[in-house]
């Protein structure tokens, strides 16, 4: 599997995890803004720069959870 395929598999995994959540659950961000899970999924689907960071952070979180 090449790097691009690995990245696509990571993106699919992150999407699957977020799609299992309540789409209306919210993160609080700076400047009084909120972001719903639905909006997070939109960033990952594209993925834009924010979405790429979301994927990176989710993969790191899985490593923390699994002790890798």
């Amino acid at each position: 599997m090449n790097q691009k395929q690995v990245e696509e598999e990571c993106r699919k995994l992150v999407l699957a995890r977020f799609r299992s959540l309540n789409p209306d659950s919210k993160l609080l961000l700076g400047k009084g803004k909120e972001m719903t899970v639905r909006e997070l999924i939109g960033h990952v689907e594209k993925p834009d720069e924010f979405g790429k960071n979301v994927i990176k952070v989710q993969m790191r979180m899985l490593k923390v959870l699994t002790g890798v």
Binding site: R17, K31, N53
Partner: protein, 218 residues
């Protein structure tokens, strides 16, 4: 000679109310600590004029800024910009910890260039998850608890003189501990745990510093 600790903690919207609450315990402890002088710019006192005056006249060794921000600015009460490139020179000789969004990557290096010992903050948006039914009482909000713990770990470590690098390491350990341990049925009645773990991991990823890792509050 007393160590001088300066904190700004506006409280004009939901996010700043939570940050205000996160910092309440360290303010209480610091005020009770011998040989420590605390300047608490709380609520509407968290304005640019007061910050400039305190930085220039009191020469605090540690400055803890809570509020909204972006790459080049940190805000106070009603989002007044209280620290930016035009007064960052006042950070000379000080350790700055900005609990706000984004400012680490823009303002952080400039602060260090201008003589700050260290600048600690987040290189992206600071995130947390709250329970909307607890907005009026953030202290009782279980969703916010792991974020409160991580923020407390960092400022407590700094206030009590640990080197910046060690304070960051302890805080990152706290974030990782919460990521691993959060989410039992007891503390997650609404199924928010996966989103909370994501926000914790986000903050873990983007918390960092510029300047001298060995700097400590003195």
């Amino acid at each position: 000679m007393a160590k001088r600790f300066l904190i700004t903690r506006p409280k004009h919207d939901i996010i700043t109310s939570y940050l205000h609450d996160f910092s309440s315990e360290i303010v209480r402890i610091a005020k009770e600590t011998r040989d420590m002088h605390v300047t608490d710019l709380e609520g509407k006192m968290a304005n640019r004029g007061n910050l400039n005056a305190c930085l220039a006249k009191e020469h605090p060794g540690l400055v803890f800024l809570n509020g909204h921000g972006d790459r080049m600015r940190v805000a106070g009460h009603n989002n007044e910009i209280i620290l930016d490139t035009t007064n960052i020179n006042l950070s000379k000789g000080k350790i700055i910890y900005a609990l706000s969004c984004d400012s680490l990557e823009g303002l952080g290096p400039i602060a260090v260039e201008q003589g700050a010992k260290a600048y600690i903050g987040y290189g992206a948006r600071f995130m947390f998850v709250h329970d909307p039914t607890r907005v009026g009482s953030p202290r009782k909000d279980k969703n916010a608890l792991p974020f409160r713990r991580a923020c407390a770990k960092l400022i407590n470590s700094l206030v009590f003189g640990l080197p910046v690098s060690q304070a960051l390491d302890l805080t990152k350990e706290e974030y990782m501990h919460s990521i691993r341990s959060y989410g039992t049925s007891e503390d997650d009645p609404y199924g928010d745990a996966p989103l909370i773990r994501f926000a914790l991991a986000w903050n873990l990823e983007f918390l960092s510093m510029h300047g001298d890792p060995a700097a400590s509050f003195s």
